[in-house]
Symmetry: C3
Subunit: 381 residues, 3 copies
Amino acid sequence: MVSVRPNPAEAAPAPPAPAEGARPHAKPWPRYERAALGLRNYWYPALPSSQVRGKPVGFTILGEELVLVRRDGQVYCLEGRCRHRGVPLAAGRFQFPCTISCAYHGWTYDLASGELVAALTDGPESSIVGKVRLRTYPAQERQGIIWVFVGDDAPPPLEADVPPEFLDPESTVAVRVKEFPGNWRLAIEGSLDPSHAFFLHRFAWMNAFSRMPAARTYYEPETIDERYVGYKGNRPLPEAEYPRVGRWPPRLWWRRFGRTGSTKVIGWLPGAARVEGNLGSQATVYSWYVPVDKDNYRWFQILWTRSRGLGRVGFWLKYYGWWYWLYQRQFLGQDAGINGLMHPYYAEQDGWARERLYRPDVVITHWRKFVDQYARGIQEK
Amino acid sequence: MVSVRPNPAEAAPAPPAPAEGARPHAKPWPRYERAALGLRNYWYPALPSSQVRGKPVGFTILGEELVLVRRDGQVYCLEGRCRHRGVPLAAGRFQFPCTISCAYHGWTYDLASGELVAALTDGPESSIVGKVRLRTYPAQERQGIIWVFVGDDAPPPLEADVPPEFLDPESTVAVRVKEFPGNWRLAIEGSLDPSHAFFLHRFAWMNAFSRMPAARTYYEPETIDERYVGYKGNRPLPEAEYPRVGRWPPRLWWRRFGRTGSTKVIGWLPGAARVEGNLGSQATVYSWYVPVDKDNYRWFQILWTRSRGLGRVGFWLKYYGWWYWLYQRQFLGQDAGINGLMHPYYAEQDGWARERLYRPDVVITHWRKFVDQYARGIQEK
Amino acid sequence: MVSVRPNPAEAAPAPPAPAEGARPHAKPWPRYERAALGLRNYWYPALPSSQVRGKPVGFTILGEELVLVRRDGQVYCLEGRCRHRGVPLAAGRFQFPCTISCAYHGWTYDLASGELVAALTDGPESSIVGKVRLRTYPAQERQGIIWVFVGDDAPPPLEADVPPEFLDPESTVAVRVKEFPGNWRLAIEGSLDPSHAFFLHRFAWMNAFSRMPAARTYYEPETIDERYVGYKGNRPLPEAEYPRVGRWPPRLWWRRFGRTGSTKVIGWLPGAARVEGNLGSQATVYSWYVPVDKDNYRWFQILWTRSRGLGRVGFWLKYYGWWYWLYQRQFLGQDAGINGLMHPYYAEQDGWARERLYRPDVVITHWRKFVDQYARGIQEK
């Protein structure tokens, strides 16, 4: 396993003394505040394998336009526009094995190296050949997903950026990918947020008949192995007498089923989370929140199981009969909706300075400091 | 009745000497030119009562996001986003009488005071309680409309900002509310504009069979009681011989009905007008042009009558059979259309400096100076 | 014929020495780089005649809003907004011969001179009359197209800005006009571009059964009569062995028809091109790329023939049965698609500096220098 350490040149062990004239709110996560476009030097899930078939596919990640190509079973990722006149290579054509030709004038790039190997319309002795090279992005296909490394450093193995069990070839995954409005940081923070489940998801259909607890009064965030953040907490209060408003939550006769066990959430860089317990012991949920640009993220909602044989049949039956609708679309849709509603507050109304945090948000500030300290790089505009 | 005086700190009795380098067009209404977002410290119609029922309703006014809530018959208006993470309270839920709880984490605010009275998911001893307060906006419900005071001063009674007869509880009102593109100042100016009726509305269906006069050659604007602007004029010319183009308007055999009486228009702050005579003696028309933001306004088109008994039946028959279609939608729709067409000229093409005014516009410049002198406050960005 | 010389005040015979701090890429066509909104002091095709019938028509050209009016068979072009309050004259009404009246207050302008000849609602003695004048634009109707001169100089005859044979009254034209996203410079460059036909249009349906050559290795651009750019080239290679990728193009059994003759392309100011040979000897193709604003152009796609009698019947049969679909819509649609895809690269991603040109682009750089030297004027924002 590769150890993931902060980039010494970038990571600031102690927050710098505020400059004169600094905004009074300055928070101890300056790199995080700058990271609207995401973090560099990580493996990201780019697209589900099923979306990259016979034709080149353009997509945007961390504000960069790239193209994904599958040729002879191999997947390649390159800078998305031809260097000649900027035409997107997603409109390109395949004329030779292992090359792509720009749709406009047939500039032909080697898929593996990005090198311009022919300018077809300029004849075989074209002098531009060999003088131009597209940037290439390391890409691989695992668990039905195409992963791309966005950065400048030599890429670590994918295992360094993913919890190790996730890549187990014996496991089964159900992947739903959808782009949502909002900044990626709001999305990952919402995934780690330990207290919204007691309120926002109380009203999810999946929880309609569950006795939902009221609150939890103590959280202890933790950093695990310098790779993950998580938290522990005390036992939730089933109900409570609130001094200014009274007893809560109301006892409703149809809320009669206890929640099975508790959930365990961990988060890691560059912006992903694993939730155990939400779907019982039958499936673990992985989420990657991939920055498209500063105003949109692509959410990989992945249900993962080790079930085999009949258990696997049961997994897919539950997935299409139940989880896809009630969990991925409705339950997680509540989170996506909130992220979109919050976004203008943070993006246009100085929300990073104006927000008022409360006790459970220690988990979120722990995440912010964790990113600030360990992020390999910030994607600058 | 409350006397409405200019805010001494803001109102400049004499226009200041132009600074060196000032734009050469500088007009004697500098505060008016700055008031793209509207005027502060006034009562505004916010929404029709019928739009605020069981659920909280978010709306924007003078560029501010607010929320309106009806609970147990009482209407409340508050700042529209939770102070925690900025989620709109319009997505909130009711968990107790007289409170609203943010959809995300259940931060619970007292509707009357705006105070945070519980952070449900943080348990009954949450220390954030009592430390956060949403801004509240005085609100009341009169004549089927929810009125909100947007400002910093102590609010005067609603009667100070509305012609007194309008609130007569014996009267009947038909309210149509619709948002249109354009700045609110173009809309109220269009309502006071004394000459466009001779041309723009000549082609309204309501006037299809009316002999419309050609022009009026003299206007005398007036300030009434320091509260209203109005104007007098000479008798309109039924037709005239124009030196460079000839006789006008054409005599059309189907235009054979005289206009019944003349109309009387007054305007007042923060941007409203009353028209008598347009619908004969049977209904008076009130319009409020409420800034949503600098590019849109919400137009309250209100038909008002004192009729009782059978007269009231007649009012509603005429309203739904005739006035709603021919007056509110088509006739006033001509004004709304013009406002939208003019808006880019003023907002993007320096129209405030480039406009060329003519004799009837003395009524409009009178209004501009009136606002400049008396407006209680300007909504700054 | 009018000789078209550069405006001495604007044309810089030698590129200026780069200022300190100048962008290192500075190219020898600085005026061309500034000409995002187009060139001034030229005749442009404004709209097809068929679009200007009974009502005034507003349109935008070189970022200016204008209005076209047909009255009693005569076509007039004026500044598009009333000087009073900026209402578009496209919403205006006709009240007298040879005038247009603004929809709002009936300000009435003479169509020929632009002079305000009556302010109807201000009566026959209105003092504003004669003090206001709309800018007028010389306009004429030729070949089913309304032409407008956009500029400050006295306009030359239309013949100065159009190849002389085009206006032959004996000729027949089929005009398709459509607005596309993209800057006009990319569009005209694409029309002159000599090499894209070997690749982009290889995949046009019209060429599906043609043996398309691979490349051409030599181009010699030329300036003809100081009015046109064109180029000569060597004989295309039917196929070739490319050192790094192999033989190309593939020999496909269904590509068996030779291309009939070769094409000849010329371009001229302010951004138009003529293509001979694309449709055999039966029709010549003229294209004007008219800037709407910096992000859109209006493409006049014109098929032109001298055929008479039965030949003309044949022209229209081929046009509606074949050329309209396969040439104007699909073949030229490939160019329009590429222009739209390239546009963000040039408009937002510094493409003018980042582009990497290759040998055939000598024709394009020749065009850029030609424009830079001879353009009568640049449309500044």
